[in-house]
Structures are given as structure tokens and as C-alpha cells.
């Protein structure tokens, strides 16, 4: 598991690079470090390895999820050039914490022992609590950090309790050991196991912000500095779903009849709350928070209808969602910073008024990412939704399918509000200035979204 070790070492290196006089080196160094970790991830391609006395397991699925996480992190870091000019910012600390949180994310993706899952969740969460409050002068950011910390610590405690009960029931922390326990005791599974599953699920669903454990999401996403919101809504969500998938598909597949009903109900609740509440938002960032809840709902459909197609669908959907989210936040960052209103940065929908006329490129990037999130054909998001819905159809859960399609039509409404604002409203006269490198990242994300939308077969057969 070279990436974990590398990222830990790189994080410490970055921390001490912060003591250098010039901050110019930090951003390229971080990008190189993430690329190095990404390259070493692929060393295990095509093979299944157990590492460190059954602590971690790498297979193609884990490698693909790791790739999505590292790619998202790469793009988020690439969009962070504003830190260099900001006097107050301490980029070395931010980057070090980001790399540490990536260590946690990779552990959540490829754990084989539940202890590794717990430590991974902890590292990821601790880093995110700090980054949520990284804008120390803004009361909103402080509020976000405090809310996230209190709720997150509580959820982690519940999850740990669940893991302890699972150990009590099965006598092992190893994921495949729990699986064999479930199969050998198919008719007399200990009650502790059921309680453990429920508590573990509550903790994990909190981390991916599924309803009814979503209450923290809008305030935290809203108050956190935009860049870290993008990180939070892509990396944390992808890692959380990878962990949920591993634990549900390996350990608890034998008691599928126990958990699928609960999960299906939570899925519908998540879709309903996420989509309907997003309609009423005036702030774009808050709308993205509710949209991230609704996307957690779509991903949950894949888990509810656990089958052979699920992993492919989850990988594709996470990738499509991450690309679109990062480019949306990328545009939001430059626009909100340069079109300020009386309250400081303007993160409302009206900040985008007339953007397409002044900055055709930014308008196009935003439009593609909104179309992808809404699931319109020719974008990656469409195929992501298509694959997710296919898993539900394969399993024969049609009512959830109908409900999800209904909810995604609601989604089209609020995503199109942005497009309408950009193309059909009059806005500020002067165009928004974008740094060249920033532009390349946005273009790359958009091109990837379109390529995956035109040729969804590119990822087929990899897992």
C-alpha cells in the first residue's frame, strides 16, 4: 500500500516546507505528490493483495475509487492558487491536512479490517473539521467547523459502538471473517450483529450526509470555504460510499433481507429531502449542499439494489459527480470572489447573471457541469444515473426507480436556474478574470465529463 505511506510522508514534508520563505513551491509540490501517489496506486492493477496482516485489501475496485479520490484532490488543489496571494492563509497546513485526509480516504476505500475503517474515518474527519473552520475570521466558517465537529464526533462514536457490537457478535474485525460468520450461522445470527449493522450504517450514512442524518450538511457546506466544500462533497462522499459498498457487499450480503428495506426507505427520504429543499434555495452554495444530499440518495439506490452491476455503477456515478461538482465549485469560486456584493462574496444565483456573455468559457463549463448533475444525455451524469437505475431495474425494485426518476425531474428545475441566469439574464458588464492554469483544470474536467458522456464504455470491464 505505497500511496498511504507516500502521502503520509509527503504531508509531513509539506508541513515543513511551510517554514520556507517562499510559498510558490507549495502548490506544484502538492500536485506532484498527489500524482506520485496516483502512479503508485496502479502498481497493483489487476491483482488482489492483502497488506499488513489482513489490514488492507487492494483490488481493481479499490484502485478505481482511489483514482477518483486522488483525481478530485488533484483538481481541488490545482484550483487553490488564491492561497498564495492571501496573506492570512497558511497553505502549507492546508495542503498537509489535505494529504493526511487522503490517507484516511484511501484507508476507507481499501480496508479489510474494521479498525482501519475507523482510523481512516477519523483522519478524514479530523482534517475536514479543521479545514471547515480554516477561514478563521468568518463567523460562518467557525460555525461550520463547530457544527461539523460536534455532529461528526457523535456519529463516529455511534459507528465505533457498532463496530464493537459486530466484534461481540462475530469475534473478528476482518470483513471477510464477518462474512463467513454470517454464512455459517445463517439461521441463528446473533442479535448483536443486527444492532451492530444498524449502528455502523448510521455512522457511515452520517458521513455521506444521507437523510435523516443530513442536518449538518447545508450549514457546514455553506460556511466552509468553497474550495474545501468541493473537497468535502467529492472526496468524503466517494470514500464513504466505497466503504459502505465494501462492508455491505462483503460482510452483510448474507443478511441482505434485513437491511435492504431500511436502506430503501432512507434512500427515498434522502432523494425527497435533497431535491425538494434544493428548489427553495437562493444561495448557489446551499443549493449545491442539498444537491449533494440528493446525489447521496442516487448512490444509495445502487447499494439498496446490491448486485453484480452495483460496483460499476458506483464508480461511474462517483466519477461523474466528482467532475461536475469540482468544475461547478471552480466557477463559483472565481465568480463569487470577483462579483462581490455588500455582504462580501456573493454566492447567490444572481452572481451568475449574464456570465455566459462576458465569459463564454466559464458559462460553458458551468452549463456542462449543471447538465451532468441533472443527468441530461451527452454528459457523464446521464450515464451515471442510467447505470444506477439499471441496478434497481435488475433487482426488480421498480417503485424506487419511479420515485428516483420523478425526483431527478425536480432536480432539472434547480440546475437549470443557474443556466437560465447565465444565458438569459443581464449581469455585470466586466468579465471575470481567470488564471490560465485554473482555466486548464476547468477545461479538463469539462472535457472528461463530455467524453464519458459520449463514450460511457471507456470504464466498462475495469472492475
Amino acid at each position: 500500500m505505497l500511496p498511504i505511506i507516500l502521502l503520509s510522508v509527503f504531508g509531513i514534508v509539506l508541513l515543513f516546507m511551510g517554514f520556507l520563505k517562499s510559498k510558490v513551491l507549495l502548490l506544484p509540490a502538492t500536485l506532484v505528490f498527489i500524482l506520485a501517489a496516483l502512479a503508485t496506486t496502479f502498481m497493483d492493477w489487476g491483482k488482489t493483495y492483502l497488506y499488513f496482516q489482513n489490514m488492507l485489501l487492494t483490488n481493481n475496485l479499490a484502485i478505481l475509487f482511489t483514482t477518483i479520490v486522488l483525481l478530485s484532490a488533484f483538481m481541488v488543489v490545482a484550483l487553490s492558487n488564491s492561497f498564495i496571494e492571501d496573506e492570512q492563509a497558511q497553505p502549507a497546513e492546508y495542503y498537509a491536512l489535505l494529504l493526511f485526509s487522503l490517507v484516511g480516504a484511501i484507508m476507507m476505500i481499501s480496508f479489510e479490517n474494521l479498525i482501519m475503517l475507523f482510523v481512516g474515518v477519523e483522519i478524514l474527519s479530523v482534517a475536514m473539521y479543521v479545514l471547515a473552520g480554516s477561514d478563521k475570521h468568518s463567523p460562518r466558517s467557525n460555525e461550520a467547523a463547530l457544527k461539523y465537529f460536534l455532529m461528526g464526533a457523535f456519529a463516529t462514536g455511534i459507528m465505533l459502538f457498532g463496530i464493537a457490537l459486530l466484534y461481540g457478535a462475530t469475534g473478528t474485525f476482518v470483513v471477510s471473517g464477518i462474512k463467513s460468520y454470517v454464512y455459517t450461522n445463517a439461521y441463528g445470527v446473533s442479535l448483536l450483529l443486527y444492532m451492530g449493522i444498524i449502528l455502523l450504517l448510521i455512522g457511515m450514512l452520517f458521513k455521506v450526509s444521507a437523510a435523516p442524518f443530513h442536518f449538518w450538511t447545508p450549514d457546514v457546506y455553506d460556511g466552509t470555504p468553497g474550495l474545501f466544500t468541493a473537497f468535502m462533497s467529492t472526496v468524503v462522499k466517494t470514500a464513504g460510499f466505497a466503504a459502505l459498498f465494501r462492508v455491505l457487499s462483503v460482510s452483510f450480503v448474507g443478511v441482505y433481507s434485513f437491511w435492504w428495506g431500511t436502506l430503501a426507505a432512507l434512500t427515498c427520504l434522502t432523494l425527497l429531502i435533497g431535491n425538494v429543499t434544493a428548489v427553495y434555495q437562493t444561495s448557489f452554495k446551499r443549493m449545491m449542499a442539498y444537491s449533494s444530499i440528493s446525489h447521496a440518495g442516487y448512490l444509495l439506490i445502487g447499494l439498496t439494489a446490491l448486485g453484480t452491476q452495483t460496483k460499476q455503477a458506483l464508480v461511474f456515478y462517483s466519477l461523474a459527480y466528482s467532475l461536475a461538482t469540482i468544475s461547478a465549485f471552480g466557477v463559483l469560486l472565481v465568480v463569487s470572489r470577483q462579483r462581490q456584493d455588500t455582504n462580501g462574496v456573493n454566492e447567490n444565483f444572481d452572481a451568475f447573471n449574464g456570465l455566459a456573455r462576458q465569459n463564454p468559457l466559464l458559462g460553458f463549463v458551468m452549463a456542462v457541469s449543471m447538465l451532468s448533475l441533472a443527468g441530461i444525455p451527452l454528459t457523464a451524469g446521464f450515464w451515471g444515473k442510467f447505470m444506477i437505475f439499471t441496478t434497481a431495474a435488475d433487482k426488480g425494485i421498480y417503485w424506487i426507480l419511479v420515485f428516483a426518476v420523478l425526483m431527478s425531474t425536480v432536480g432539472i428545475y434547480y440546475y437549470f436556474r443557474v443556466i437560465i441566469a447565465m444565458y438569459f439574464r443581464e449581469g455585470a458588464a466586466e468579465p471575470v478574470k481567470v488564471a490560465p492554469f485554473y482555466r486548464y483544470v476547468l477545461i479538463a474536467a469539462t472535457i472528461l465529463t463530455l467524453v464519458l458522456g459520449l463514450a460511457p464504455g471507456l470504464l466498462e470491464g475495469l472492475v
Binding site: 498511504i4 499488513f52 496482516q53 488492507l56 491536512l97 493526511f100 479498525i115 446473533s190
Partner: protein
């Protein structure tokens, strides 16, 4: 004898926790939490988890509780006109505001029923034969250094991240947070 000790410490834990909930003064809550945590440490000893008991006393009683009390001391006192009566003049007299009873009670009752029915229906295989007290430090030390070496080292990374985060959030905080 052993049962008596167990019930005494369980009563200490429960009484302490109950007092944390009932008292309105945050400072008193912190001190009642001390009782509760010590009770838990004693229960760990009775469950022959001695290292855990030491850790509980060192980290929670010795460390986390100090943090809690520091937190109370850092908190600004409400201005005298907001509270009335002679007690308002007392130092560190910070009252909790939240007084809703119904929902917490319902949730707690639900959880209690769930866990009680769970525990009463579970068959614990080790319940019958009582093992003599045996120190767990040896086993934990060996396991930590061999089988669980990676979680152990990664815990170092976690502590480092927490350290960096704490330093970042509270450095220069006295200039910015005191508004």
C-alpha cells in the same frame, strides 16, 4: 464483595451522569463528569481491562476534563444585566439554556428499551465461568506491535493531523476570536 464494589461504582457512574444532565451550571457539570469518568475507569478494572482503566484515568480524567474546564474558563461570562439575582455575580456561572425534556427523554427511553431487550436476549458465552484477574497489558503490547502495527502507526498520523489542526485553529486566535 465484588458485586458490592461493582454496584457502588456503577451507581457512581450513573449518578454522575445524571447530575451532569440535571445541574444547570456548566462548571458543576464538568465536575460531575469527573465522577462519572472515574466510575467508568473502575468498571474497566472490574472487567479486568487494566490498561483501559489507566488510559481512561490518564486521558479522560487527567486530560480531556482539564480541556473541558479550560473551555468553561475561556467562555465569556454573560453580562450582569442578562442574569439576575445574587448568583449572577458568582464567577464562571454559566447556565445551560436548553430545557426541552420531551424529545431527549423519548430518545433515551427508546434506546434503553432497545439495548435492554438486546442484552437480556443475548447469550454471553463467557458469562458462566469467571476468569481470575489477568493483566491485559502484555497481550495488548504484543498485538499492537505485531498484528495491529499499521493502525498504530497511522494513529500517529492522526495525532499529527490533530496537532496541526489545533495549532492552526487556535494560533492568533486571541486576536481574532475576542470580538
Amino acid at each position: 464483595m465484588l458485586n458490592l464494589i461493582f454496584y457502588a461504582f456503577a451507581a457512581l457512574t450513573l449518578g454522575g451522569s445524571l447530575a451532569v444532565l440535571i445541574t444547570r451550571n456548566v462548571m458543576y457539570s464538568a465536575f460531575f463528569l469527573l465522577l462519572s469518568l472515574i466510575g467508568v475507569a473502575a468498571l474497566f478494572v472490574l472487567a479486568s481491562a487494566d490498561l483501559l482503566a489507566v488510559a481512561q484515568v490518564m486521558i479522560y480524567v487527567g486530560g480531556v476534563l482539564v480541556l473541558v474546564i479550560f473551555g468553561v474558563m475561556l467562555t465569556h461570562k454573560p453580562k450582569p444585566e442578562t442574569t439576575t439575582g445574587p448568583q449572577a455575580a458568582r464567577p464562571n456561572y454559566i447556565l445551560t439554556q436548553h430545557r426541552a425534556w420531551l424529545w431527549p427523554l423519548l430518545v433515551a427511553a427508546g434506546l434503553f428499551t432497545a439495548f435492554y431487550s438486546l442484552i437480556s436476549r443475548i447469550h454471553f458465552s463467557l458469562f458462566e465461568h469467571r476468569a481470575p484477574f489477568q493483566t491485559s497489558v502484555d497481550t495488548i503490547g504484543k498485538q499492537l506491535m505485531t498484528e495491529y502495527i499499521i493502525p498504530f502507526e497511522i494513529a500517529g498520523i492522526l495525532l499529527l493531523a490533530a496537532l496541526v489542526g489545533a495549532t492552526y485553529l487556535s494560533s492568533q486566535g486571541d486576536r481574532t476570536n475576542n470580538q
